[in-house]
């Protein structure tokens, strides 16, 4: 059913794609604060197909971080439905969400979040440890993932705190890739990098999308960064104000 619905939607958008990766229906997120309830996301509905490179753009306070948390299965919506790779994620328990993150999502964070005092390879292998991948297999997969993310082999045994910002973000991308996720979620991946290094990292993401057909969602507040994606969804005050494709 979902497959057919997705197909119909993408035909509407003059694109023939095979499969829906993300589908959000009327997602609402309300936080209870001391003074009352604050609704951060208001009835958001959209779909993202397999292999798309989408930027979600908006100023701070627009609700894009909350949306990213829901898309990344770090949080659940107050109401509405969210299907990731045909599986409903809207009402799962903590541990079930952890399973979704483990198997279907790769995160790239603004502040890299690498383990200090450990080697590049160990950082990239960490998701495989939690996924229960046999030890022998981990290193070869980590190496493959690192070269896809464009890191030179000479750095594989370096400690993460010896790397430059751009190299660290490549390691983080490799870590996000290593589990073959359905979705890569990059939260302000260039926020801690200078413009030139940022361009290189964005280039890497573009390449992963074009060459390896990874679905990528890029969350940013900068127009220039969002331009690298094929589709830009703009959010303001918890609603979608525009959804443009190149």
């Amino acid at each position: 059913m979902i497959w057919e619905e997705g197909r119909r939607r993408w035909e509407e958008g003059n694109r023939v794609l095979t499969r829906v990766m993300i589908e959000c229906k009327k997602i609402t997120k309300t936080y209870l604060t001391g003074t009352g309830a604050v609704t951060v996301l208001k009835d958001l509905s959209f779909a993202i197909a397999d292999g798309e490179f989408v930027a979600i753009m908006g100023p701070s306070g627009s609700g894009k971080s909350t949306l990213m948390n829901i898309l990344g299965a770090l949080d659940i919506p107050t109401s509405g439905e969210y299907f990731l790779d045909k599986k409903s994620v809207a009402a799962l328990s903590d541990d079930e969400l952890a399973d979704i993150r483990k198997n279907k999502i790769g995160f790239v964070f603004q502040s890299f979040n690498l383990l200090p005092r450990s080697t590049v390879l160990r950082n990239v292998m960490l998701p495989l440890v939690y996924a229960g991948v046999p030890k022998e297999e981990r290193e070869s997969r980590a190496r493959e993932s690192l070269s896809n993310a464009g890191l030179d082999e000479e750095h594989f045994y370096h400690l993460t705190n010896q790397l430059s910002g751009g190299q660290m973000q490549r390691v983080a991308i490799a870590r996000a890739l290593v589990n073959n996720p359905s979705l890569i979620l990059a939260d302000e991946p260039t926020g801690n990098l200078d413009t030139k290094t940022g361009e290189v990292v964005l280039g890497t993401l573009e390449e992963l999308n074009k060459k390896n057909n990874h679905t990528i969602i890029l969350i940013t507040h900068e127009r220039g960064v969002a331009e690298h994606a094929d589709r830009i969804i703009q959010i303001r005050d918890g609603i979608i104000v525009s959804d443009e494709r190149k």
Binding site: G72, L74, A98, Y130, A131
Partner: protein
Amino acid sequence: MKIRDLFEEIFLALLGNKARSGLTILGIVIGIGSVIAMISIGQGAQGSIQSNIESIGSNLIQVMPGTQRSSGVSAGWGSSQTLTAEDADAIGAEIFLANAVAPEISGRYQITAKGTNTNTSVVGITASYPGVRNVEIEQGSFISEQNIKNMSKVAVLGPSARDDLFGEEVDAVGQTIRIKGMEFKVIGVTKSKGGSGFGSQDDMIFVPLSSAQKFLVGKNYVSTISIQAKDAKSMTTLQEEVTALLLARHNISDPNSADFRIMNQADVVASASSITNTLTLLLGSIAGISLIVGGIGIMNMMLTNVTERTREIGLRKAIGAKRKDVSLQFLLEAMVLTLVGGVVGIFFGWLASLGVEKFGGITTAISPTSVFLACGVSAAIGIIFGYYPARRAAKLNPIQALRYE
């Protein structure tokens, strides 16, 4: 997550902060080590006091003279002179539960021998004395029935008395000593029994009871009657029977005005061991406090650890770690620390108790119980004090944890 991977994560984390891990382990080492050492000192004291008491003899009851009363005036304990060798014979003959009876009379006298002299206690005894009081002969022979019958002036020396009079390792058998100016011939030397202070049997001179009564004291009473019970169970009954017999023989109807008193060895052992138990408990609780302090050290370290690694925990959760994976990692980290601390602590506690024994001259005894207790306690500390930080880590919200500065 596989157990092997879990342990790899734990060791990398612990080795990642060697100084802090080391200090935390040190806290547990001190705690466990002091428990082991303190308990070993307490139990060593208990053992040595018990063996001291038992060296007097086993299953022993001692009858001693009581208060001499004349028209209501008490002259104090030991003043009565109503206990006689005949009382001892009567106990031996009439009371079935008495295995052996050894009357004795003792007094302190100046002893001289070839220019040296010493002041020590001279005990008049019968031939049954060595059996009842666990005295063994080292050289020569002990006082015989014949010596007693003949009121022979013969003496058996304790090893310390021998050392004082003749010098160490000198063969004293055949020499003569003078007690109260009278010559006694040395016929034997007893084996050393160790022990020191009052009533050490090493610093005594034994002579026949009859000779002591006639030549030294000049009176016919005895100062102690030692009675050995058939077995440990019959001691209370024996005590009652001896009391009844002596009251009858001394024509006393009211047990409260008895002119003798009876000391039961079992009572002495019981009161001594209650003292040493209190000592062990005291030492153990002091050590226990340091163990608790060590445990709180672990909790403190783990809590700091959780705070410091908040972002790491957030990341682990974001890439798929479940609550159980996170809590198990932190709990096992705490347990590894306490376990390593426990093992090292047992080793150092053992070293400390050896040191106390060697340099402090106190007997110590490490019991397997205290080792198991210490191991159990250290594992329990790991679980109890590691549980709270582990739970706190597992409950962290990944979104907030990732943003934590």
